[in-house]
Subunit: 192 residues, 4 copies
DNA sequence: CGGTAAGCGAGACGGTACGTCGCGTCTTAAG
DNA sequence: CTTAAGACGCGACGTACCGTCTCGCTTACCG
């Protein structure tokens, strides 16, 4: 079958080291932030030589990007029977993954890199946001079928608005309410 | 009037150097991004000693923050007579200032810093967003008076949604349309 | 006789690789000097894995020592019939083997190592200098028998003086004459 | 006078750091040898940043060369009244400075470098050996005036022979006698 | 003649030192 | 008392070798 897979000579790269590197990267990233993580620190924390990191990644950016990649969990489409039940699931899940030190750092990095290397943000868009947008589409279609919302609602735009307000709330905390409540209010306004 | 102004002895600080520093900071910020600007480079580019920078700012962050501050233009509340006329002005102005390399860098910086030092984002919120939110409030109130939109519309939440979708669009370019058109569609959805 | 020689099982070590390693070591040693030779480079140049080198030698020092060992040619005692005929042969041979990039590197290495590990120089002394000293002794004894020089001449000391001046000339080039001429003048002075 | 001397702007290089660097270099050089000294270690030992070293020297070689330079003491021409009195002074002084770990390391380095960059040995020759050769010339001339040795003796060649045998003795320890005694015997043979 | 044990090439591994760069501070002389 | 210049201590960067450790193969011998 995959005839090229097992052909390369020499000692194979250690999956264990690989995992340790990614985990340490995420740990330290959450602790001290992107700027202040040093490759040396990651290597030490992972019990690994710097070489082993640089063999896999050309730079801190690449390493961090892959570390973030690695923790992308499965998207599951909630099905509670009501629109707001589904939405609450989505909000909770999104808030949970984004409203952490690590989440903030990742977003900051993506936005920062987006300027110099747009494909970086593109990856995040393709791998992370796009699938959720589609899951959201399903939720909205179901709600339309139940006549909970108008048939002409543009689910993509609604998703983008929700993502936008979450990004915004994350950075600026525009309200004194808990984020979840604020988000729910916003969605309420969008969906009338 | 300001009797204390001319009191301190010695050579006064050069306003010319000050300006050169800010301009160079913005130039290089737009060119290479926050991370890769070096104080040395700014000093050289501005024809100024590093001392002169560090006398005014304690760190790169402070310098960059002030440089960004310095280009904040006056907020003017548009008054075209119709809600959409006003909104178009607001959108155009916002897009114009944000959709540039410099704009992106600034946002990236704010979001990045927001994680480690929240007061950084707070400054941006207070000095930049808050006034615009208030201006937006005026525009919405006028529209309410003209019965263009419902009286119970929460102008702050609408503003946040718009800001959010702009932030989001800026980073992820979720659509193939020009940003302005996309934003306008979004606002349309919000205001029904 | 050597009943243990052919007993060990498994694949025997490749004499071809062995030779390639030694040759590559000497080549690179002459090209870039002891410090800058890397085992990796030797392995690559010899078309051999690093393992194959480290199975034979514990360190770069050992490898280089053996490589040098390997090129030690037979000492032949010249017999031209006159003292100076013999001496000329000795000088020419010595100059020829020492006044090359490789020769210099080897000497440098020996002297360098002599400080940290005296047995290194001792090996060179025992294996290289001692036999020549004895050959020289024969030449001198013959000259004494021919009454060309005084009977009480200490051949060892003369040999050491000659070796010393050659070492010295090699490093410092104290004269504008060709080395051979300079050496001959020195010997002349020693033997009156 | 020296019109160019005091013109350069900026903070002058710290003579104190300079001294600390040289001293630490010599200390560590004597302790662990050229190969095993690390710039980091020198910097730490000297209480100095690596930058400060690299601002002055491009490489370890350059640094070490200058450190060695720095400890060159004054040459004084002995005047005991007899040739052998003078010679004993010279021998003792030479042995004292060369027969130390540091002395050996220095010689090793010079010889090693001589191969790749001959001007390195040339410096040592010009700055160290040449002056001693001249001092030695004076000693020999005085002995000639006292009719202690033949008038046609070539003092340079004698000096070179002595230097050579010392270099040789230093590296190979060809005899069981103390070095001073061995050297004295050698000189005796040269001068008949 | 097929098993077994060492050798082989390739190359990844945990380290150490390298030489460079940027930080924010300090020290000059010049204004 | 500020300025331009630039040295300072520090610490991270990414590279190059070190000597060790797997890998999946030969390659020879021995039972």
């Amino acid at each position: 079958m995959n005839e090229s897979a097992k052909k390369q000579p020499g000692r194979p790269r250690s999956a264990q080291s690989h995992q340790a590197i990614l985990q340490s990267t995420l740990d330290l990233l959450a602790q001290v932030g992107y700027e202040r993580v040093s490759i040396d620190a990651i290597a030490t924390h992972a019990g690994v030589g710097k070489t082993t990191i640089y063999r896999r990644y050309r730079s801190k950016e690449e390493l961090v990007a892959d570390a973030i990649e690695s923790l992308r969990e499965e998207i599951e489409i909630p099905e509670t029977g009501t629109l707001w039940g589904d939405l609450d699931c989505i909000i909770e899940s999104a808030v949970k993954t984004t409203l952490t030190p690590l989440g903030r750092q990742i977003l900051a990095m993506i936005i920062g890199a987006a300027s110099s290397s747009p494909q970086f943000a593109q990856v995040y868009w393709t791998k992370y946001l796009q699938p959720r947008r589609q899951a959201f589409h399903v939720v909205i279609e179901r709600a339309k079928a139940r006549y909970e919302i108008q048939a002409e609602t543009d689910s993509d735009m609604v998703f983008d608005l929700i993502s936008g307000i979450m990004l915004y709330a994350l950075v600026f905390q525009p309200s004194n309410e808990p984020v979840e409540v604020y988000i729910r209010r916003a969605i309420d306004l969008i969906l009338k």
